[in-house]
Amino acid sequence: MPANRIVPLVAREGLRGPYWLLTFRHPEIARDARAGQFVMIKAGTSAEPPLRRPFSIMATDPGAETFTLFVKEVGPGSRALGRLAPGEVAQCLGPLGRPFSTPPAGTEALLVAGGYGVAPFRLFAEELKRSGGRGRLFYGGRTSDDLPLLEHLGGTSTPLVPATEDGSVGHHGQVTAPLEEWLDSGAGPARLYACGPEAMLHAVARVAEARGLAAEVSLDPWMGCGIGTCLGCVVKVQNTDETRASYRCACTEGPVFDAARVRWPGEEVSRARRERAGFMA
């Protein structure tokens, strides 16, 4: 597990806006990574900025021993990654964290991505293709600028359903609208998987709760170490066998959590607690 790995950049592709696809070589990461897992990575060997940054693993190619990250430039850490040239190296820990679960046989995996949060679903779609599972990817953002990966999601067996709040691409509205339409249309058994902004994850959790569906959400809090010791990335979670919610490391117990167990901001009590108290059928 998390020994420091020196990974050379083998390819970089600039996308529209502040986005990059960065492909690194490392045989074990390429072989072992599962959808929903991440790496803690920093460019080069310089001391500044001090901390590594977490990135979902977007794709792997075990044959070529490579893995690809979808990087958005937001600060000094991601900027340094975006400036790496092929042949230069990054320091990497991973693959880390709990991946998305495999959908049970006969269950359709409904993947809900918000903007930048689409990264793990490319790998998820590849896993579905390999296992013969069924899936559908709902990919939403405010405008088409938030969907820079749109052209890179083909080649899998998972149909893509884009949505933008300004209507510039796909469904006009929030991504949960086409999701609910699909669920209303008489789709069979489904499990929801979501990654994106917290408000969207909460919305997906509510859709799942209202329809009695299982949902898994990938949370993205500020992370310091990625291996469960800094306790910076904790989220409040209450499992069914627990009498109270407590802080759990998103890096080691997540980043994927059962949506029903997450104490969402603004929610006084978790769904688990309400269930026990008999508030729900």
């Binding site: 597990m1 998390p2 020994a3 420091n4 920093k42 001391a47 500044e48 900025p49 001090p50 901390l51 590594r52 850490g77 320091q91 820990l93 809090p221 500020w222 310091g224 170490c225 291996i227 469960g228 010791t229 800094c230 306790l231 910076g232 990335c233 904790v234 989220v235 407590s246 802080y247």
Partner: protein
């Protein structure tokens, strides 16, 4: 080549110790590195009872640093002794427990549990955490309270007592002497520097707790200065802490008078940091024709320096 050092009657196989709050309880690193290679491990701070810690966000990066307000989330001393200690005690390293309390009595109570637990070599007394409302810095900022807490812990244990001092004081020498007089066997210097990072869009602190403790390379010169001042003020050994991520960083503390150092924030950046520093330390000694790390300790040449801080003229 001898890298071993002796502090407070404890033999550390090398002068590199994992700092409290940056290494979990040790078990988290079990699969990552050979814990027996470490000079020592200081546990995450422990109270009598489990603690939730502070709300999030708890950490933010700053220039060459990390500002945190975790708030001493932890499993409590009893769970540590029952569930964790048996697992880590089998590693041949010095196991130190960092103890906390809301009251003087609680410090003593936690120390008593440590005293009765096989495998705990010594007790680091956390009187310097800036991220809790009671205890912590409230004790470490006042020499009388420092004396009281350390004396209370001293009274209930035969194990070495190592208070961890705060840099958030006007003169660390005063606190160092108060701890020494109360019976401390060694000192850990320093804990984090109190800081505040502001989100300019929301005009709120970036951390939910408000202020936080600054660590990382940003604080190293402050830490070396304060460890050096403390070391000059007392006869007991001072373990240096603050922004160490290379052998040269560690050597600064050793030369300034610390027989050992703790590595903190660098654990978050590189879990292999101990191994790297250890190798580089040996290389440095070799290059300088030395075969004992002890020969480096307290060799600071400081032209025109007056006597030890506090005993004569203080810079």
């Amino acid at each position: 080549m001898n890298l071993a050092v002796e502090i407070a009657g404890l033999r550390f196989k090398n002068p590199l110790i994992a700092a409290s709050g940056t290494f979990g309880y040790g078990v988290e690193y079990e699969d990552v590195l050979d814990l027996s290679r470490l000079g020592g491990i200081v546990s995450k701070g422990l109270y009598m009872e489990p603690r939730d810690g502070n709300p999030t966000p708890r950490i933010t990066e700053t220039p060459s640093g990390l500002l945190n307000a975790i708030g001493l989330q932890g499993i409590g001393i009893r769970a540590f002794v029952r569930d964790v200690l048996p697992r880590i005690a089998r590693y041949d390293t010095v196991h130190l427990v960092n103890i906390c309390g809301d009251t003087v009595e609680e410090y003593a109570e936690v120390a008593r549990v440590c005293d009765g637990a096989e495998g705990i070599a010594g007790i680091e007394v956390n009187i310097s955490c800036p991220n809790v409302k009671k205890g912590g810095l409230a004790f470490g900022g006042d020499p009388r309270m420092t004396h009281e807490v350390v004396a209370a812990v001293r009274k209930v244990t035969r194990r070495p007592v190592i208070p961890k001092l705060s840099p958030n004081v006007a003169d660390i020498a005063v606190l160092a002497r108060a701890a020494e007089e109360a019976g401390a066997d060694a000192l850990s210097c320093i804990n984090t520097l109190l800081g505040l990072a502001v989100d300019v869009e929301t005009r709120r602190p970036k951390l939910a707790f408000g202020t936080g403790g600054l660590s990382g390379p940003a604080i190293r010169p402050v830490a070396v200065r304060m460890a050096w001042q403390a070391a000059r003020a007392v006869k007991i050994p001072v373990i240096g802490i603050g922004g160490i991520s290379s052998a040269s960083d560690a050597l600064e503390f050793l030369i300034a008078g610390c027989p050992a150092v703790q590595i903190g924030t660098a654990n978050f950046v590189d879990p292999g940091v101990h191994e790297r520093i250890l190798a580089d330390l040996a290389t440095w000694l070799e290059q300088h024709g030395l075969d004992d790390i002890g020969a480096v300790v307290g060799t600071l040449e400081y032209p025109g320096l007056p006597g030890p801080c506090g005993t004569e003229v203080c810079p």
